[in-house]
């Protein structure tokens, strides 16, 4: 058998003779010192040569994910040597449903921003914006609840979510955000619906006392809208913590940036949707919110996509990469329409639709990237090995310093 990087030297402690190159490639014979990641292990390597240790690379089909998938040319980081257990993944792939969960992330963001827009519109003489934003928030929040329950393995046990409160569980905290948020947004939207004569008539058939309470509806609606807005911001950003607080390496790595990506994406979506639905005269705040959101999203997504070396790679490759690129195009085009033609009805509708589409695709892209990062062991092994090496180097430096202090 042949082992490309093993030249059969007796120096068994030489780290570079163990031949565990997973990606020997054209430069398989690196000089010593090139691959510090693979430690010496007595010269042992998996029997059967390098080909068996390599994760099976399927022919790259359009949008195909899977084992170390993706465009080799687009790889940002050269493949380093590492070993794995027959190329099998180390962490489990999240069992969350797709597209239910990415859509949940999107709806949560859109609803969160809309609720804040709606509450403020109530008090700044923008009745149409307030109405539309409250409807959007209510519908999206109810949709979120449906999607979240549908994602459970045992949907009938949804209420077990409210059995305990655990700050260490973003899903527990999220349940205590989503529950009041969806209650208040649907209450605000519900009171609005009851203000419509035909619906009030219908409601009266069930609850005969409704007309007597009608004078309280506007007040109750405004109170609900304010209460919902209090949960709107957290509703939009907690979902980023939901993803980051996992062992999926490409989600966890970006944990301080993802909440801002989601905040920006939420503002683009919420602003965009309410802008598309509302006459231009009242939609000024929506436009400004959407444009600021786009700026924040693009700025932060750039850090996610380029700031984390190997762990940024899944955001470029395969299905996630396609979605992220499409999201960026839709978001930028939507922002251009909003900025240039947002004061025309057609421009607002086109811009708002594109912004919403961009937000959906951003969430889907981020979701897919995290999924992809769990499927290839290199995203676990290489960064963790680097972390260990850095720690060791740090300890050595600290020791040196301590010694010089003593001296």
């Amino acid at each position: 058998m042949t082992t490309p990087s093993s030249n059969g030297h007796p120096a068994a402690d030489d780290a570079h003779l163990n031949g565990r190159s997973l990606d020997a490639g054209p430069t398989g014979n690196e000089p010593a010192g090139e691959a510090p990641l693979v430690a010496a292990a007595g010269g042992w390597h998996r029997a059967g040569g390098t080909d068996l240790t390599q994760p099976k690379r399927r022919k790259r089909r359009k949008g195909g994910g899977g084992w170390g998938s993706g465009n080799r040319e687009a790889a940002m980081v050269p493949d380093a040597e590492f070993s794995s257990y027959y190329g099998r993944q180390i962490v489990k792939t999240p069992t969350w449903k797709n597209p239910e969960v990415p859509l949940y992330l999107f709806l949560g963001g859109a609803a969160g921003t809309s609720s804040v827009l709606g509450a403020l519109a109530e008090f700044t003489d923008r009745p149409t914006l307030a109405r539309n934003a409250e409807y959007v928030a209510g519908a999206a929040a109810l949709g979120s609840v449906v999607l979240l329950i549908d994602d459970l393995g045992r949907p009938e046990r949804f209420l077990h979510m409210l059995r305990v409160f655990k700050p260490t569980s973003p899903l527990s905290v999220g349940s205590y955000i989503l529950s009041p948020f969806s209650a208040f947004t649907s209450a605000a939207a519900g009171f609005r619906l009851l203000e419509l004569a035909p619906l009030l008539k219908l409601g009266t058939k069930v609850l005969p006392f409704l007309p007597a309470l009608a004078r309280f509806f506007p007040g109750a609606r405004k109170a609900s809208a304010i209460a919902a807005a209090a949960f709107g911001g957290p509703m939009a950003t907690y979902t980023a913590v939901l993803l980051s607080n996992t062992a999926a390496p490409s989600w966890h790595e970006v944990h301080t940036e993802l909440p801002y990506v989601f905040a920006g994406s939420a503002m683009a979506a919420g602003g965009g949707i309410t802008m598309a639905l509302t006459p231009v005269a009242e939609a000024g705040p929506s436009r400004k919110t959407a444009l600021t959101g786009v700026a924040l999203e693009l700025f932060m997504i750039n850090k996610v996509e380029h700031g984390h070396g190997l762990l940024s790679e899944p955001y470029h490759e395969g299905k996630a990469g396609t979605l992220m690129r499409a999201a960026k195009k839709a978001t930028i085009t939507g922002a251009a329409f909003t900025a240039l033609l947002g004061r025309t009805r057609a421009g607002a509708v086109i811009g708002g639709t594109l912004l919403a589409a961009g937000s959906v695709m951003t969430r889907m892209g981020v979701f897919e990237a995290g999924i992809a990062s769990t499927k290839d062991p290199k995203y676990i092994v290489i960064p963790q090995k680097e972390r260990m090496a850095a720690r060791k180097a740090g300890e050595a430096v600290a020791e040196d310093e301590a010694r010089s202090v003593v001296r």
């Binding site: 093993s6 059969g8 030297h9 007796p10 402690d13 292990a41 007595g42 042992w44 390597h45 998996r46 029997a47 068996l52 257990y85 099998r88 993944q89 962490v91 489990k92 069992t95 969350w96 969160g112 403020l120 700044t124 994602d151 393995g153 045992r154 949907p155 046990r157 949804f158 077990h160 059995r163 305990v164 655990k166 700050p167 260490t168 569980s169 899903l171 527990s172 999220g174 709107g232 957290p234 950003t237 980023a240 913590v241 980051s244 607080n245 996992t246 062992a247 944990h255 301080t256 909440p259 801002y260 989601f262 503002m267 005269a281 004061r343 676990i380 092994v381 963790q384 090995k385 260990m388």
Partner: protein, 358 residues
């Protein structure tokens, strides 16, 4: 009602240090158990004596009535992995013990005393001592048997280690390791479980309560070792319980009971740690430089684990993460960013209402 035991350590107790990561001397007390709780138990899996018999897998499946699945976790399927003797493939909802097999080779360029049958050098070894002139064969067998647990057996004279050819030949060895849930000091699955279905037992282990779990799957994403998984036809999450039912009846877990070589050792964790340290020292003194303990270090990313290992190669060779951290370690930073992001939304929207109309 013991909601206290289903809360994560971060919530309870006066000591605010090491709530999310780092060493924690008494996990059970930290989870709210009284002073007189049993001491923390664990597994020490010494892979240097594992023979890959899979008795642990079978005992576990039988005792816990786990359904059949294939190497990719597909229920009801019997499939070959096509890569080694390992057809279990991975830990998951239906496999709570998983024996990994790694066939390794290395080039040797050593001056061989003799060229021929594997173990020929053992005869020389026997002659040096000159113990049995009548039957050197029997003597070498005896020597091999008595040295099964020493380092030479692992590095040079192991029956599984064969040398072919004189110079530039190839040596083969098998690594076998029975993997299991680590029952971490800071368990990611336990931290993120939103229902309290996962809880810390009085023995310091981590167990899922099947009647509480609603199948949200968060624990699956949070485990840095890829241990816990959701069973497809059931919808709930399952993993090793360290035979909680047997422990409460004073029995050992099924896998440790079944293990014929004491590769899987069960006991009080501090005792096992001492035993493992001694075993490592023995191996090192016998020249097994690559032996190492995995999960023993209490200052690692998960605060040390309840089920730790003695490995003969890098952890990733066995499919273990080299430097796992509990994801919740960074949760304060995440909540901070999320809160700032949420405030930004309110601030941006509010400021967008300022200024001129339109």
């Amino acid at each position: 009602m013991t909601t206290v035991s289903s809360a994560s350590p971060s919530l309870e107790g006066a000591d605010s240090r090491n709530r999310l990561f780092g060493p924690l001397p008494d996990v059970s007390a930290d989870a709210g158990y009284e002073e007189d709780h049993p001491s923390r138990v664990g597994f020490f899996t010494d892979t240097s004596v594992c023979i890959g018999c899979k008795a642990c897998e079978v005992a576990c499946k039988e005792w816990n009535t786990l359904p059949m699945d294939d190497a990719n976790g597909v229920l009801g399927q019997m499939g070959m992995s096509g890569m080694s003797y390992d057809n279990t493939g991975q830990l998951g909802a239906n496999s709570w013990r998983h024996v990994s097999f790694i066939e390794q080779s290395r080039s040797v360029d050593l001056p061989m005393p003799t060229i021929g049958m594997p173990g020929a050098d053992r005869h020389d070894h026997g002659h040096d001592h000159g113990a049995n002139a009548i039957s050197p064969q029997a003597d070498s067998v005896l020597a091999a048997q008595t040295s099964v647990l020493n380092a030479e057996a692992l590095s040079e004279f192991d029956p599984q280690t064969s040398v072919t050819g004189g110079d530039g030949g190839t040596q083969i060895r098998w690594l076998m390791s029975s993997d299991v849930c680590k029952h971490c000091t800071h368990a990611g699955c336990l931290d993120v479980c939103p229902t309290g279905a996962l809880f810390r037992t009085e023995f310091g282990t981590v167990v899922v309560q099947g009647d509480i779990c609603n199948g949200c799957g968060y624990c699956v994403s949070a485990c840095p070792y890829g241990v816990i998984d959701v069973r497809k036809d059931d919808g709930r999450a399952f993993k090793c319980t360290m035979c909680y039912d047997r422990l409460t009846d004073g029995l050992q877990p099924a896998c440790a009971t079944a293990c014929p070589t004491q590769s899987i050792q069960f006991g009080d964790l501090d005792e096992l740690q001492a035993r493992a340290d001694a075993r490592l020292a023995t191996l090192k003194s016998q020249g097994v430089e690559t032996a190492r303990l995995y999960g023993r270090d209490e200052s690692d990313g998960v605060g040390g684990v309840g089920a730790f290992f003695l490995l003969l190669d890098e952890p990733e060779v066995y499919g273990l993460p080299p430097d796992p951290i509990v994801t919740t370690r960074d949760l304060p930073a995440m909540w901070k960013a999320a809160a700032t992001g949420a405030a930004m939304i309110v601030g941006v929207v509010a400021s967008s209402f300022l200024g001129r109309r339109r």
